[in-house]
Amino acid sequence: MSVYLDHAATTPMFDVAIDAMAQSLRKVGNPSSLHTEGRSTRKDVEDAREKIAQAIGCLASEIIFTGSGTEADNAAIKGLFWHRKKKVILVSSIEHQAVIDPARWLAEHEGAELIEIPVTSSGVINLDFFKQIVAERGPEIALISVMHSNNETGVIQPIAEVVAIAGDIPVHSDAIQSFSKVPLSFKELGLFAMSISGHKVGGPLGIGALILRRGVEIPALLHGGGQERDIRSGTINAPSIVAFAAAVEAHIYDAAKVTSLREAFEEGVRQVRPDAIFNGQSVQRLPGISNITFPGTQSDSLLLLMDSEKVSCSTGAACSAGVHRPSHVLLAMGLSQITAQSSLRFSFGATSMQADVDYVLSVLPRVIERGLAANSVGKK
């Protein structure tokens, strides 16, 4: 048996999405063409846009399709910075690289001043710090970006409070992990911009969307035909958009079921390894993500051992050379380098079952034993 517990990295495409995509791939017609075929494909795209808009609580015209969640994040961070012509970028210290890296790039190349909002030991942003910065530097702040939930710990962030404190300052939220997993409304949260991605919700790879408040015209990253509101150019990827919407509409993900699987898993881990530490356990988390520190181990050894037991999970981060690095998220939560490098992420999804939990728990004791042994000889 093999067990896939890396749904936060990517999750299987739903059959309805595959079917919708296959059907769309067989159709000819550039959605920007004016003839019959073009109009037909355009209708599919706009139907899809409306479905996604409905699911996310925004206007259809507020959706700008992109090639990935990363592109949506980049477009939001760079676009809002250039649009606002102000100096300060305020982001949480636990953002995904798709947010942190463009912000750092702007600081290095475009004269931005980057301020990172620290998090508490439970992984929630420090609202007092945030409030103070907004009070002190408010008029200089170009944008604020705080993710809706963290991709490594699953910890949900207080976005409504962030928006309330921000006042007139635009707030972007990377909601890539949250979308379709927990209740989420662009409008109710009062956000200025938000990013989502297709392959995290049962849709295909290579499609994402930037939700950008109506009437705001940020500079484009990709110039060309201006297909998506003049903010994103490139032939509209109709098959992926249609499949993305089909996955969102089907909404096969059962949050209650996933939550109970994760809870059963964590309870089982606690029994097998009473020394295990569950990162972010005391606060509100996504249903499917469990981030666990196994003291005295190295997560890259654990991943190899899990993989050879046919269990797929994940370590926090790797550098461009593929070398495992301590997760910046766990470090921001106050874990030491060593503890951060002793942590694994297990993420459950729509297709996860109780049998998966039982199997992982059955192999966990020997994996941890061997991981402890490897750490005591192979590393100092």
């Binding site: 190899l304 051992l305 050379a321 070398v323 991981g371 005591s376 000889v377």
Partner: protein, 357 residues
């Protein structure tokens, strides 16, 4: 057996891993990240530490159909190999970092970690052979004399050799490339690496000068008379003739050679060619790849460079030092180099040269 294949991204380790799979082992590919700040692209014949090399290793593992991981051994490599390389040069000796890497990293840190994780051994693309004998497993030269790497493996003790698999020792390099081609491995024609992997420029002297400083000092003849100035004593090698920049010629116009490097006084001593002659050598920290030898003089061969000649000698153990008395004198031998003793094609053991006479 369950084994780890150490995959550098080169053709040899890729074919070795493929052969191990075919031999029926359960193989997992591991690429060692030895630099904490790797270069993006490989340049020339140097190294196995670039991101490009790690991609090549991953691709080979995928084609062979084995799992692949990257192990971060940068700290271990820096402490065990790079720092040792610098301190040896600073002490006036000439180390071979490849031996050190085999001794401390590939067949120590990696093998230990592999065993703790439930693996039985490590397979590498080194050209060497092992044989099972009544006295246990022994290490031997490869059949391809041009590629034979038994010299750099002579730092492995018996336990390490027991945990090692060298599937390439019976094949010539040219055939390994053909085999890689036939197996669809894109690294089939990748150039061999020759130089020191952590000196990407290939300029060892410049690399050392940058790290150890380039303090000038005297170049003296054997009578102690200053006849020139050097730019950092450790950038010279015993036997070196060129680039000395001497201002005082010898009486008969014959060339001078570096005879000795004295780090404490920061002095380089030069002299005539015949003064380079070495008739015997002593090595410390002996390691035996097979049965340990004793004090009885034994006929055999000694090799002092990775691709040097096997020199006829009589060898024996003198307390904790390995001694080799050469049949014919050898010109230019630096302390710090490894002396490797052979009995025919069998590797007896090795030691680090600490004294020559």
């Amino acid at each position: 057996m369950k084994i780890i294949a150490a995959m550098s991204g080169g053709v040899d380790s890729a074919v070795a891993a493929a052969r191990a799979v075919e031999a029926g082992h359960e193989v997992i590919g591991v690429h060692l990240a030895l630099s904490s700040n790797p270069q993006k692209y490989r340049s020339g014949a140097r190294g196995c530490c670039t991101i490009e090399d790690s991609h090549d290793a991953r691709r080979a593992a995928d084609v062979i159909g084995i799992p692949f991981y990257i192990w971060d051994m940068a700290d271990e490599f820096h402490e065990g190999v790079v720092e040792n390389f610098m301190s040896e040069y600073a002490a006036g000796r000439t180390p071979n970092p490849c031996l050190r890497c085999n001794e401390k990293i590939k067949f120590a840190a990696v093998l230990d970690r592999a065993k703790a994780m439930g693996f039985d051994g490590v397979v590498t693309g080194h050209y060497a052979r092992t044989q099972e004998t009544a006295e246990g497993r022994t290490l031997h030269r490869a059949v391809d004399p041009l590629k034979d790497q038994s010299y750099v493996l002579a730092v492995l003790n018996r336990e390490q050799i027991d945990g090692a698999i060298f599937p390439l020792g019976d094949t010539e390099k040219v055939d390994i490339r053909k085999e890689a081609e036939a197996r669809g491995l894109a690294v089939a024609q990748k150039p061999d690496s020759h130089d020191i992997c952590f000196v990407p420029s290939g300029d060892n002297a410049g690399w050392l000068r940058e790290r150890l400083g380039g303090e000038t000092g005297p170049i003296v003849d054997q009578d102690g008379i200053k006849i020139g100035e050097h730019k950092g004593a450790y950038t010279y090698t015993i036997g070196q003739r060129k680039g000395l920049g001497l201002t005082v010629p010898t009486a008969d116009g014959s060339p001078r050679f570096v005879l000795k490097i004295e780090p404490v006084s920061n002095t380089v001593v030069v002299g005539a060619r015949e003064d380079l002659a070495v008739n015997s050598m002593r090595g410390e920290r002996p390691i035996f790849c097979g049965p340990q030898i004793g004090a009885a003089p034994t006929r055999g061969f000694v090799q002092v460079r990775a691709h040097g000649a096997a020199l006829g000698c009589t060898y024996y153990l003198d307390r904790d030092q390995l001694v080799a008395e050469l049949d014919l004198p050898l010109l230019g031998l630096a302390t710090g180099q490894a002396m490797v003793i052979y009995d025919g094609d069998r590797v007896v053991g090795s030691a680090t040269i600490c004294e020559t006479a």
